[in-house]
Amino acid sequence: MSVTVRIPQPLRRFTENRDLIELSAMTVGEALEQLERQYPGITERLREPDGRLRRFVNIYVDGEDIRFLSGLATELKDGMEVSIIPAIAGG
């Protein structure tokens, strides 16, 4: 499935300053693995050593927080947008 991943500004130092990355993946977790293959080191910022998402990183699929979906196992369809967004704001 071809999807677009939106990269937040703090991580663009890993992506040659690109904010949108096209890649092919069946799930959110797979999209992160693809991202790591293209830009080594980037997912170290996003995941704990045990693979869980870091506490202060949120991921959205077409605007919905993946914690309301199936987390990293959330399935992707063609044309979907995966957004990685820092969690600390507001209140």
Binding site: F56, V57, I85, I88, A89, G91
Partner: protein, 426 residues
């Protein structure tokens, strides 16, 4: 220096040493940045407490005007404040009649429903963050808001001559929308919840060079909340209460009130004592309460459904910190249904003559539960943090049918009989 008014004659010395990540402890110089580059953790302002201890005393604080700036050494400004000079030092009111209803003999209300200039505790965080925005040279500011913050950023930005963009969820109370637009702020309603607004604003700060108070200015902004705790301690005669009940949206206020008492203890301004912190949320948006009950730090976000719009944050940024502070302090957290919230608003109004907004109804309702469950005991000093004004959330209430009469004594006699009071004739 020509100006002699102490409000503006503020020492320019800063005690801020920089920013530090609360998770991985990475250090950063002072800048408009809220998130650690390494781990995305929140950044916190660091102070040189030894230097503060050398200058700050109860006497010095007491000699200053009654505003939040009397604790200026513990606020993160490097230049004199430029916004909200009159903000803070709201009344700490003994509440014996509410206390009798709850079974608490030493109950106090910290009433930020009368904070200057927009009648909520958000005036404190905005005073700090917009002063900081001026220091950093921003000419455009803004926020993601459930209403009270929108009011405060709009009003304070107007007075400071700053352009303001205010982002709100599209289903806010009328009074909070009007009370933002009136100041000339550019108000943008975002389809969705507050959490959607927050997410959008997290991206906006990387796109435009704006100072969003609770996004890129958040480390400075949140420090303003400490002044609620400083004032309570001073107003109690330089001691902390035994317990305090605090409404929770993002969870920051509760965490910062705890920090305020800890700082005063560290500086020797109040005696060491354990303050139990109790968090209050609406049942329709209770992710922090759920975490406390289930004894976990991890916050599971929820989709808010509550009349307490100002607390309707389903993914609270400081949720896990708040849950930990509550647990470590020996406190607890409870929630209130919409009916209990409305009953809480009426109870506070009828017993203490204070009209609070829905968030205050949550706090009163939760305090009632905590007292009934034995978490608060009758003899101890308990403070309820009332953070907003009821005139802003009147949509949530229904007025009783109005009794109308002709201007005749016989009509008055009739309605007095209806009120079953008989009227005490002279």
């Amino acid at each position: 220096m020509a100006v002699t008014d102490d409000v503006t004659e503020v020492e320019t010395r800063s005690y801020v040493t920089g920013l530090r990540c609360r998770v991985c402890r990475a250090e950063y110089p002072e800048q408009p940045l809220a998130i650690c580059d390494d781990c995305f953790g929140p950044l916190e302002v660091e102070y040189d407490y030894d230097a503060v201890a050398r200058v700050l005393s109860r006497e010095l604080i007491a000699s200053r005007p009654p505003t939040m700036w009397r604790y200026r050494e513990l606020l993160p400004l490097t230049a004199p404040p430029r916004v909200g000079l009159e903000t803070g030092y709201t009344p700490l009111v003994p509440a014996p009649r509410l206390g009798a209803a709850l079974g608490l003999k030493n109950l106090y209300i910290k009433n930020d429903g009368v904070c200057h200039p927009t009648l909520s505790f958000k005036d404190r965080v905005v005073a700090v963050s917009l002063s900081k925005a001026c220091e950093f040279g921003f000419d455009t500011v803004g926020c993601a808001s459930t209403g009270n913050l929108a009011n405060s950023v709009a009003a304070n930005a107007a007075r400071a001559g700053l352009r303001a963009y205010i982002f709100i969820p599209d289903a806010l109370e009328h009074a909070k929308i009007l009370g933002t637009q009136i100041y000339g702020a550019r108000v943008i309603a975002v389809r969705g919840t507050y959490d959607d607004v927050n997410r959008l604003c997290s991206e906006i700060v990387y796109t435009w060079n704006w100072g969003l108070v609770n996004v890129n200015l958040r480390p400075f902004y949140s420090e303003g909340s400490k002044t609620v705790g400083f004032e309570i301690a001073e107003q109690l005669g330089w001691r902390a209460p035994d317990a305090i009940v605090v409404p929770m949206a993002g969870g920051s206020l509760l965490v910062k009130i705890q920090k305020a008492f800890a700082e005063l203890q560290r500086l020797g301004l109040i005696p060491p004592a354990r303050v139990r912190l109790f968090g209050a949320q609406a049942q329709g948006c209770n992710p922090i309460v759920a975490a406390v009950r289930e004894e976990r730090d991890e916050i599971r976000p929820v989709k808010p459904r509550t009349i307490a719009h100002s607390l309707a944050i389903g993914d609270p940024a400081d949720g896990d910190f708040a849950a930990r502070v509550i647990r470590e302090s020996g406190g607890w957290a409870e929630d209130a249904t919409d009916e209990e919230i409305l009953a809480g608003i009426r109870l506070l109004a009828e017993t203490e003559g204070m009209f609070t907004e829905t968030a205050g109804g949550v706090t009163v309702a939760v305090a009632r539960k905590l007292a009934a469950q034995g978490y608060l005991s009758p003899e101890e000093t308990v403070v309820l943090a009332i953070t907003g004004n009821g005139l802003k959330t009147m949509d949530a209430l229904t007025a009783s049918p109005l009794i109308t009469i002709s201007p005749k004594i016989s009509d008055v006699e009739r309605v007095l009989r209806d009120f079953s009071e008989g009227g005490s004739q002279p």
